[in-house]
Symmetry: C2
């Protein structure tokens, strides 16, 4: 079946990252880039974003070769979103050294043509008013998933709650779920979030895996056990890409399909952290992905 591509809106950035295993300078990154690099292995995907005049578009050629529709990435006058950060020895904490929003500060995209007809939409972690604006331009998508972060929960909660009334799934990490709801118990937190609008909630717990809360069932998937984590940057967006890339390729969104989507999210997140930037995500093929899905099955199955 021919489907409209999965659509993602988010940041397209340059990241300088230092971890115990090395460093990269001005590598391609941002939520929309990690999401696209992960989801494009599973489904056609189109990216909406903005970059400055300084962006090395040739470094996105790999995504283009994989069929990612980059026509929605606008190149604007000014500098690209730049983030520099450093992880502590055991990835227990992360220090932001520089955040330079550049052209991203005034990002408010117009969704034209075929992209407005996307069946599945991922609203990456950007200002909730911009997420709402994108959603309003869409031609009745079947599945809308959004991400957010502590900053927006703190500064723009009203706009965020307004958005949540209209999304199907909120995907956030555990500390954000607690911050948003004031509930430390994640089962209780998910119920509060469902009260805000989303019928399901995905809570990401980093190396500890992720949880899916529907109205009347839950699913828990642990993290894969990796020999070496090189750089955790983009893990959450790659999880989202695996999750939605799998969903976008299915005919119906049943509980079993959501469970398997969580598995693909976990698998794509695991590849993302094994290199800097999207290097590992670009290298892997279907066989690598299926092998890791099967590993996750062996890791968790019991009689």
């Amino acid at each position: 079946m021919k489907r409209n591509p999965l659509m993602v809106v988010g940041s397209v950035a340059l990241d300088s990252v230092k971890t115990q295993h090395g460093a990269v300078e001005r590598a391609v990154g941002g939520s929309a880039v990690f999401f696209a690099a992960a989801s494009c292995k599973l489904s056609p995907v189109a990216t909406i974003g903005v970059v400055g005049e300084d962006y090395p578009m040739e470094k996105l050629q790999g995504l283009k070769n994989q069929g990612v529709d980059l026509t929605g990435i606008e190149q604007a006058k000014g500098k690209s979103f730049f983030w520099a950060g450093e992880y502590s020895e055991n990835f227990t904490s992360r220090k932001t050294l520089i955040t330079d929003l550049g052209v991203f500060e005034h990002f408010n995209p117009s969704i034209g043509g075929h992209l407005a007809k996307s069946r599945c939409l991922f609203l990456g972690n950007i200002h909730p008013a911009v997420q709402s604006n994108v959603l309003e331009q869409m031609d009745s998508p079947e599945l809308v998933v959004c991400d957010t972060m502590n900053y927006w929960i703190d500064q723009n909660k009203k706009e965020l709650l307004d958005l949540l009334r209209r999304v199907d799934i909120l995907m956030i990490n555990d500390s954000e779920a607690r911050q948003l709801t004031g509930e430390s118990n994640l089962l209780q937190a998910s119920k509060v979030i469902q009260g805000f609008g989303p019928r399901s909630v995905v809570i990401k717990k980093g190396e500890h895996g992720a949880l899916f809360f529907a109205t009347d069932w839950c699913f828990s998937v642990p993290g894969l056990l990796l020999e070496k984590v090189v750089d955790p940057t983009g893990a959450g967006d790659s999880f989202a890409g695996g999750f939605m890339g799998y969903l976008s390729a299915q005919n119906a969104f049943t509980p079993d399909v959501f469970r398997t989507a969580m598995v693909y999210g976990t698998v794509m997140g695991s590849f993302a952290v094994e290199s800097f930037s999207i290097d590992m995500l670009e290298m892997i093929n279907e066989e690598n992905i299926l092998k890791r899905v099967s590993e996750l099955k062996k890791l968790t199955a019991f009689d």
Copy 2:
């Protein structure tokens, strides 16, 4: 098949605990008590420990009624081991207010008679030299599992490493695994521990579940999603009790049996935290346990 009871050696204590859901004063606790309360639902179990003259032995009557062999608990002159602690709002941290070792300070048990013939032995978290001394008195047990803690890793590493050469499985929590090995990656940490002697390693991660590392396979089980956690005290020992209680009732220790044992550990740990002391563990029956095993299956299974 009639088997010798599973044997546990550990602390038999009185705990005063305060959490956001209430408080108890001088309730029965300690590693051997939580372990026995959990394991006795699955297998015959005998407890080795020491208490002072002040211990309310009648409060262990419930365990006795469940068939726990308490003849190995010596009542000595002096005070019982007493611990008082308080958990922070969301159980993110725990403050020890009082630790009074009492008669436990000079605990060094003699294992006599039928107990020395136990097939499965759990060496609860006590001084590693005492753990070794107990192990030496045993008549070739088939499966020896030991626990330890940060204090012994810090203060008695030589004695601990000496013990580890002779146990089958080390069961510790994630921070202790990192402390013991200097490896932050748990897969690498488990390999270092296997190099110390144990052929398998169980790493407990609290609400995030637990990991089993064998030589050539791993198993990961997430925590159950609980409506309310009342008191996390004893969760790890109850996990150990569920794990070993299940194992002790099996004919052979195959990979599938270890996987299921991890599930029973998770289930018994989940009951333990739903009340203070061993109250909930004492209330549950086989049906409650099987229901939760089935919930864990539903929580984790995917196609």
